[in-house]
Amino acid sequence: MSKILKLEGLSRAFGAVKVADQLNYELSQGEALGVIGPNGAGKTSMFNLITGTLAADSGKVHFDGRDVTAQSAAARSRMGIARSFQVPQPFTHMTVFENAMIAATQAAGLSGRAAETLCLDVLEQTGLMDKANTPAGSLTLLNRKRLEMTRALCAKPKLLLLDEIAGGLTEAECHSLVQTIKDVHATGVSIIWIEHVVHALLAVVSRLVVIDFGRKIAEGDPREVMDSREVKEIYLGIDADA
């Protein structure tokens, strides 16, 4: 199976703090990968490196068979990388529909009726249709999270990066979110999902990567990884040498 994403020795430091330290992994076309790790482990920085908002000190990002390390964030988004933010960042002075249209026209490169149709379909899917003409700045947190998802999907991504999108949701909301993500995944979109809500994550992903101090410390089958010594050590504070 061809690889949609490949990270090669990706590293980035802020002073002495390494947010990415020799990160290596591959993602197959259509695969769903989960990423876990403690706060400050460098998970979001990894997304910033993949999307191009953060420049790597060393290492490479390959996307869809091309080395995109030197490409701008805008160029990478047009190639098919889209993400959602843990803290939603809508264009607050624009309506929900206009927010979606920016992604559809700029990132996905659609125009006119095709862009509008896509936006309306996605708004229907994410449950924001009745808020289409509401200024994004006045949305509640849940709806802002939905808008993050909406914009990412309107970009028609090949690779969808989700950053703690389930955090703060009720059980029912989380369930419908998982269903949406499953539906998106079923259309062939590759997904990397950073999430603390592990049961939601495990409902979707087929592989798990654990990151701590910018390093990949475990990788593999989700249940095996969750049961592994490294993960217990990080989350439960069990000393591996004890």
Binding site: S72, A74, R78, H93, G109, S111
Partner: protein
């Protein structure tokens, strides 16, 4: 009747000020850039109009079809080559660079056209007037006002009804996220400056038809533009038109009291608005 006439003339003059201001307002709105060279770019457009009319023998209003695209092109190149490099968290570099640009444009115009006052010859249009009851309204001021309304309406439409306008607003709202949505902000800023200078071209030609100009008058036009933007409220184009009208009316009323008070009255009106409503009368952007 003298007062009604002054208010009417001031309102129409306000259209010209709104045209001075529209480009300034647009640029500030999209990229938070205060363009100190804006007045000199208006004067540059007037000179480009002069060259076009003299060389091609065109009527100044027909020369718009040459000057508008020329200024738009200059705007795009200027933004991509120079101004984009100055934009960042610090507001000082763009101020300094556009100030320097202002000096450069003035001196280049002095070198090329000398300090002699020039004027665009619009023929009969300049003196034509329509009788409105006991008042005589100049066709040129009326046309200027109509163009100003059309330009503001056109910009408003562009901002809220087109993909280009959506891109402007997205970049204005959150540059980083806009980049992640596939927008190249450098290109978008270039487009914004091109549009702003296209409007400036219209302003420059109408200025050149209305009054004589020389390379040194850009600063004064910048001030009028600024005052119209601030009176109207930042980020609101219809407010900018209102600001231009208030400034124009204040000036003509001042001049009706005492011919020497024209500019003073305009500045006083600006000062009063600034003191009472620091964000302008119809602000859209807060802070």
């Amino acid at each position: 009747m003298e007062w009604i006439n002054a208010i009417l003339q001031g309102t129409l003059l306000g259209g010209l000020y709104a045209l001075f201001a529209a480009g300034l307002s647009l640029i500030f709105g999209v990229m938070r850039l205060v363009n100190i060279a804006h007045g000199d770019l208006i004067v540059l457009a007037a000179y480009l109009g002069l060259t076009t009319t003299v060389m091609l023998g065109l009527h100044p209003l027909v020369a718009l079809i040459v000057v508008v695209p020329a200024m738009a092109g200059i705007g795009y190149v200027l933004q991509r080559a120079v101004l984009n490099q100055t934009l960042g968290d610090d507001i000082l570099p763009p101020l300094l660079v556009t100030f320097g640009l202002s000096v450069i444009i003035q001196n280049a115009l002095l070198e090329g056209y000398s300090a002699d006052p020039q004027k665009l010859d619009a023929g009969a249009l300049e003196t034509a007037s329509i009788a409105l009851g006991p008042l005589a309204v100049g066709v040129l001021p009326l046309l200027t006002f109509a163009i100003a309304v059309a330009v503001v309406a056109g910009l408003q439409w562009t901002f809220y009804r087109t993909a280009l306008g959506r891109a402007f607003r997205a970049v204005s709202d959150n540059q980083d996220i806009a980049q992640l949505m596939g927008l190249n902000k450098r290109h978008v800023f270039g487009q914004a400056m091109a549009l702003a200078l296209a409007v400036t071209a219209v302003a420059g030609l109408l200025l050149g038809i209305r009054t004589s100009f020389d390379p040194s008058i850009g600063g004064g036009r910048l001030i009028f533009g600024f005052e119209a933007v601030i009176i109207g409220g930042l980020g609101n184009l219809w407010g900018t038109l209102a600001g231009g009208i208030i400034l124009g009316v204040a000036q003509t009323l001042g001049a009706a009291i005492n011919p020497g008070w024209q500019l003073l009255a305009g500045h006083l009106a600006f000062l009063i608005v600034l003191a009472v409503r620091p964000n302008g009368l119809f602000p859209r952007i807060s802070g």
